[in-house]
């Protein structure tokens, strides 16, 4: 018989346990709860217009020397919309946050260019403001303060206060008609 050492040990263990010998004390310990000491932050799922409430579990107690990291995201039971449940997309939110491919800097693709280049926020804000003014100056209907050549996108994670300001600044102030949010697109 060509038995390996592992087979021999297995057979030995099986024989011993068949005889009723305890090879080792019964060991049973459920895994430690991975969110036992996490910081819980309430947030809103950014995917669709349902805007489910989520709790983001972050490792670390916010100490000065600790870099926090997101370890788990699950539904917020206190949220009136989803009451703790989530859809398969919402359940994956952790991977949305902890992801190598997550965009963390401004990328700019110049007109006619075939590549994205990293730029500063100053550059981006300045350029957006400039083009906005240029378009508005050319296309605004001044008789009724209506601008349909520019759209503004908000987000379902914005608070009521944010959205109030968005409406006030862009629709009442600058006359932008297409105010949208990503959830409806």
């Amino acid at each position: 018989m060509d038995a390996t050492r592992r087979d021999f040990l297995k057979a030995g263990a099986a024989t011993l346990s068949a005889l009723g010998f305890d090879l080792q004390p019964a060991y049973a310990q459920a895994r430690e709860l991975k969110i036992a000491r996490t910081t819980e932050t309430r947030s809103t799922c950014p995917y669709c217009s349902v805007s489910c409430g989520v709790i983001i579990h972050t490792l670390g107690d916010k100490s000065k020397n600790v870099r926090p990291s997101v370890v788990h995201v699950e539904g917020d039971p206190d949220h009136p919309i989803n009451r703790g449940s989530l859809c398969p997309k919402g359940v994956t939110l952790k991977q949305d946050i902890v992801n190598d491919r997550r965009l963390t800097q401004v990328l700019y693709r110049a007109p006619g260019s075939d590549r994205w280049e990293p730029r500063s926020w100053e550059f981006a804000i300045d350029r957006i403001a400039r083009l906005f003014k240029q378009t508005r100056d050319a296309r605004l209907r001044e008789d009724c303060n209506a601008l349909t050549a520019v759209g503004v996108i908000g987000g379902c994670t914005d608070s009521n206060e944010n959205n109030y300001l968005l409406g006030k600044a862009f629709r009442a102030g600058l006359g932008v008609i297409p105010l949208e949010q990503q959830a409806r697109i």
């Binding site: 297995k10 263990a13 099986a14 024989t15 346990s17 068949a18 005889l19 009723g20 010998f21 305890d22 090879l23 080792q24 004390p25 019964a26 060991y27 049973a28 310990q29 459920a30 895994r31 430690e32 709860l33 991975k34 036992a36 788990h72 995201v73 699950e74 539904g75 989803n82 703790g84 449940s85 989530l86 859809c87 398969p88 919402g90 359940v91 994956t92 952790k94 991977q95």
Partner: protein, 280 residues
């Protein structure tokens, strides 16, 4: 100490040390209101930090044909042609947490499979020897061997969450509420009400799937076609396989007896006749 919550321990002759009285917990799965969104599948992967498996195209929306060592929760997209109309009999497949677990009975490694006082059947990979006997003992084809680690894995019913009073991750995620969690009494009560409702809606064979052959399951499933559980890829009357039962009860005692007499006989033979000497 978790030790006080052990109802059954694999391959251990001594009685299990559990004394704490805990209600049997149970999942409730209503196959009739499942929309097949797979939030439970993803929630399971996410909570247990399991690596993603490469999916297989089966012609349905089903992720993989079977559970794998890294996929403990699978929505089965069973299809039924009912008088020319398609019926989607989706069922969440995972460990059933049997009252009398066949895996535990078949397991030869002491402490590798335990059943807690609340009915959860849990694998302890530290004590697992990777023999795969539990896979033969399971009538539902649940435990899966990881070829790399040579250990067997399956749903833990989120024993880590349940032990601190949280519900399993899959249950929490379910957006339609077809998954519920509570004590088994509560879940059977809920299932009974749902079955009555379904019968009123014309599903005269609607039934609760809680097979007595394995001591009842820690998963209470409501089936619209309760007379044909095979349609949901469920065995009709599951029991622990006969070979496992014979091997683990009568044969085990016979084997022990034979072994004891063998040892005693050898000792007596030695004392009577002494060591065998080779003749020159």
């Amino acid at each position: 100490m978790k030790t006080l919550e052990l109802k059954r321990v694999s391959a251990t002759a001594a009685p299990a040390p559990g004394v704490r009285e805990q209600a049997t917990v149970s999942k409730y799965i209503d196959t009739t209101s499942c929309i097949g969104c797979k939030a439970c599948e993803v929630a399971c992967q996410e909570w247990n930090d399991l690596p993603a498996e490469t999916t297989v195209q089966l012609g349905t929306y089903q992720t993989l044909p079977e559970l794998t060592p890294n996929l403990w929760n699978l929505i089965r997209f069973n299809e039924l042609d009912h008088d020319g109309a398609l019926r989607w009999l989706m069922r969440k497949d995972q460990c059933m947490h049997c009252g009398d677990p066949g895996c535990l009975k078949a397991c030869p490694a002491p402490g590798a499979i335990v059943q807690y006082m609340n009915g959860i059947v849990d694998f302890n990979q530290e004590a697992c020897i990777g023999c795969g006997y539990c896979m033969t003992g399971c009538p539902f084809n649940i435990p899966k061997l990881n070829q790399k680690t040579q250990r067997v894995y399956k749903c833990t019913l989120c024993s880590d969450r349940v032990s601190v009073g949280l519900e399993p991750a899959c249950i929490k995620a379910c957006p339609t509420g077809c998954l519920q969690f509570g004590t088994k009494t509560q879940m059977l009560d809920l299932a009974g009400k749902r079955v009555a409702q379904l019968k009123g809606q014309g599903f005269e064979h609607a039934a609760v799937y809680d097979p007595p052959g394995v001591g009842g399951t820690g998963v209470v499933t409501v089936l619209a076609y309760g007379d044909q559980p095979e349609l949901y890829a469920l065995p009709k009357d599951p029991t622990i396989p006969l070979a496992v039962r014979i091997w683990k009860t009568p044969l085990k005692w016979l084997g022990s007896l034979a072994m004891t007499f063998g040892v005693v006989g050898t000792v007596l033979h030695y004392l009577r006749y002494g060591a065998k000497k080779a003749e020159e």
